[in-house]
């Protein structure tokens, strides 16, 4: 089948110049949906204070115009908006086909500008929400936030109310609006997942690279350390975290991160071992590159592909284990709304108020499904073999009439 490979090479060359017209992947519609979901979740979390807050955006009261919503902003809101701009930047750069193009240059500069603005804002704003002196539903015309409830606003007459026009997703057992709690909860869940994935990936990459590349005694010792951590079920980390720094964000992130890094380390080690003997690595060594440089410039970039995929699965796993931790009484304090926590609090009411657990569960599923498909898209994008010739023609069996004979 040599000439099939030739055709691929020719097409590859053509695609590099002109860029493939449309990505032909059997799952492209799913991947597209996944990207949209990821966008909406991150947008909603970033602008949580804008979207779900009882403080209206604008209030015109006998001539005086006020922006109560902006006054409730705290440092975290600004930091999140900065993160949003970074996400949009990355999304535009990766998403579109042609890297150049004037429209893109303006967008990048604009976003970079906004990013700096929000960074500055982060230092100006207080780090704790100022007292809500002003009564919320004052008279005068005011533009309400789309979801006019704070995450911890208890609605006296709507306890365990099923989804209605007033509360789109219903309320929980303490009468708090579920949709606003999910939006604000998204923030913490994403933060927990992101930080623990960061820990897991950084440790995993470091460990895996060093173990795989240098081998010999170093590999022997570090593998033992890795095994120690692997034999350490999450349970035993409970000892340290359970009493020492319970219920804090750092504790939850540490626990999830310190367990997840071992699988990434093993993956990276295997990749590095495989890549180490490739010709171009030997060539780099032959050219006199110091071994550290070879590792960083040549070997690691290649293992980034599978690591990214593993990282996306670790991200999804972190969001789930955050819920399981709250089951063991070790998650974040009961007040902080995260998806896992809301899911856990609603578990008792599964048979008489199922929406309390159903919607966070659905949201968790959508987030994890989108992360999974983005991860899969990454893997296929980074794996050269399936890139140009559409994987639709990836080797699959022609099954006549649906039966494998």
């Amino acid at each position: 089948m040599t000439d099939l490979k030739e055709i691929t090479a020719a097409l590859e060359e053509r695609a590099a110049v002109q860029g493939p017209r449309r990505i032909l992947h059997p799952r492209r519609r799913l991947h597209q949906a996944a990207l949209w979901i990821a966008d909406t979740v991150i947008l909603a979390s970033a602008a949580a204070t804008l979207i779900a807050s009882s403080a209206p955006w604008v209030r015109i009261d006998q001539g005086s115009v006020e922006f109560p919503n902006f006054r409730t902003w705290i440092r975290a809101d600004a930091a999140w908006l900065a993160a949003l701009w970074v996400y949009l930047l990355v999304r535009i750069l990766l998403g579109s086909r042609n890297r150049r193009g004037w429209m893109k240059r303006i967008l990048i500069r604009g976003l970079a500008g906004l990013f700096l603005l929000f960074l500055v804002l982060t230092h100006l704003l207080p780090d704790r929400r100022p007292p809500e002196r002003v009564s919320v539903f004052a008279e005068g015309f005011s533009i309400q936030a789309p979801i006019p409830f704070d995450p911890d606003h208890t609605d006296p007459e709507a306890f365990r109310a099923p989804p209605s026009r007033r509360h789109l997703l219903g309320t929980d057992t303490q009468g708090r609006d579920l949709l606003s709690r999910l939006i604000h909860g998204g923030r913490v869940s994403l933060l927990v997942a992101f930080c623990s994935t960061l820990i897991a990936v950084s440790l995993g990459l470091l460990f895996g690279a060093v173990c795989g590349f240098f081998g010999g005694l170093v590999d022997l010792l570090l593998m033992r350390v890795l095994e120690i951590f692997l034999c350490f079920p999450q349970l035993f980390l409970l000892i340290l975290v359970f009493a020492y720094l319970p219920g804090s964000l750092l504790a939850v992130v540490a626990m999830i991160g310190l367990v997840a890094w071992t699988s990434i380390a093993r993956l990276v080690r295997a990749e590095v071992l495989r890549i180490k003997n490739h010709d171009f690595v030997l060539a780099a060594r032959a050219l006199g590159c110091p071994s550290f440089m070879v590792l960083i410039r040549h070997v690691l970039p290649l293992s980034v592909g599978p690591t990214l995929v593993a990282a996306s699965f670790c991200f999804a796993g972190a969001m789930i284990s955050e819920a399981s931790l709250s089951f063991l009484g070790l998650g974040l304090p009961q007040g902080t709304p995260t998806w896992g926590r809301i899911l856990f609090d609603g578990k008792g009411a599964l048979d008489y108020a199922p929406w309390i657990s159903l919607f966070p569960g659905l949201l968790l599923f959508l987030a994890i499904a989108s992360i999974h498909f983005v991860g899969e898209r990454l893997r296929d994008a980074l794996d050269p073999r399936a890139r140009v010739i559409a994987p639709e023609i990836m080797p699959s069996v022609s099954i006549s009439k649906g039966r494998i004979r």
């Binding site: 059997p26 120690i228 409970l238 020492y244 071992t262 856990f344 569960g361 599923f365």
Partner: protein, 330 residues
């Protein structure tokens, strides 16, 4: 082969030492201890304990001897499998406590591992063979739904649906066996345990099953693209043989490597399942000894979980060597 096993055993020793040392350090570094745990319980009961009784009780528990000395004595005793007595109040020898829990948990975990592998291989193959077809897409979405449901929500859903009689009442809810089982033949015993194990095994292995299926499918997709599959087809073998003999034999190797990661994963997962379904297994024992700061049980548990995981590693390596002749055990 024997030299390889010897080498592996030799490597286990530093790791096991490391695990027990880390557990020892962790448990001692954390504030509180068996004494403060007991005083808290007494406070809860409204009983006040004078200072001299506390002092006398502390030296009975021998907590204040130098740490390294304590670790040394523990190590010496553990070589003779005498792990001392549990400090969580029931003062049972740790050996019997862990023995009981291990028997229950090992059964549950092995059945789960079997369940995971038996199911994930065919579903993985199906996913690879029909990659991209619409029904495979719905199956993948379904698997993702299963993966993204936390264990306890899945457990409660199944309980509300199958146990409490609001919808159905076909499966038992609590414990490993029905309590009054006089006059049971061994068949009834087996059936009884099986009925009790259905829900815990499903909850325990749900996430593991979906993860394993994903790896299996990735392995199979890669295997199906290799040249020898084309040769097999050119030889005119049946499609079934091509997939389940040639492609599977090559695609299953990475999945076997995951066996090693399953043991610790199942243990921490079983904490939740054992709590919900009332199964007195290793997960629950580990969680209780963590909460009641029961040092001897914790140390013994860390050793045994370490050994179990090492065994997991060894078994997965041997399986890999058995399946793939290119892997030489050196």
């Amino acid at each position: 082969m024997r030299t390889y096993l010897l080498k592996r055993l030799l490597f286990c020793v530093p790791t096991l030492l490391g695990i027990t040392l880390v557990t020892f350090a962790l448990s001692r570094m954390v504030p509180g201890g068996p004494l403060s745990q007991r005083l808290a319980l007494l406070h809860e009961e409204g009983i006040e304990v004078g200072d001299e009784e506390i002092a006398r009780y502390r030296d009975l528990l021998a907590l204040d001897r130098p740490l390294l000395h304590q670790y040394g004595t523990w190590l010496r005793q553990s070589t003779t499998l005498d792990f001392g007595r549990s400090q969580s109040g029931d003062n049972l020898p740790v050996r019997t406590k862990i023995g009981e829990a291990l028997a229950v948990s090992l059964g549950l975990q092995l059945v789960s591992i079997l369940f995971i592998y038996v199911l994930s291989i065919p579903v993985g193959c199906y996913g690879a063979v029909c990659y991209g077809r619409w029904h495979e897409r719905w199956v993948t979405l379904g698997l993702l739904l299963l993966y993204s449901i936390p264990v306890f929500v899945l457990a409660y859903l199944l309980i509300v649906l199958l146990c409490t009689g609001q919808v159905l009442s076909i499966l038992p809810l609590h414990g490993l066996r029905t309590i009054d089982r006089q006059g049971f033949t061994w068949l009834d015993h087996a059936a009884d345990i099986a009925r009790h194990l259905v829900l815990p095994v499903i909850c325990l292995s749900a996430a593991g099953f979906t993860a394993m299926t994903r790896y299996m499918r990735a392995g199979m997709v890669e295997a199906l693209a290799l040249d020898f599959v084309r040769t097999a087809r050119a030889k005119g073998l049946r499609e079934r043989t091509v997939i389940f003999k040639h492609a599977l034999a090559h695609g299953i190797v990475p999945v076997l490597a995951l066996l090693a990661g399953l043991f610790p994963y199942l243990l921490s997962g079983s904490v939740i399942v054992e709590n919900i379904f009332g199964i007195p297994g290793m997960g629950r024992l580990a969680f209780d000894s963590v909460q009641s700061r029961d040092y001897p049980t914790l140390m013994a548990l860390s050793l045994i979980i370490g050994i179990a995981t090492m065994a997991g590693f060894l078994v997965s390596d041997l399986l890999q060597a058995a399946f793939d002749p290119r892997v030489r055990l050196r």
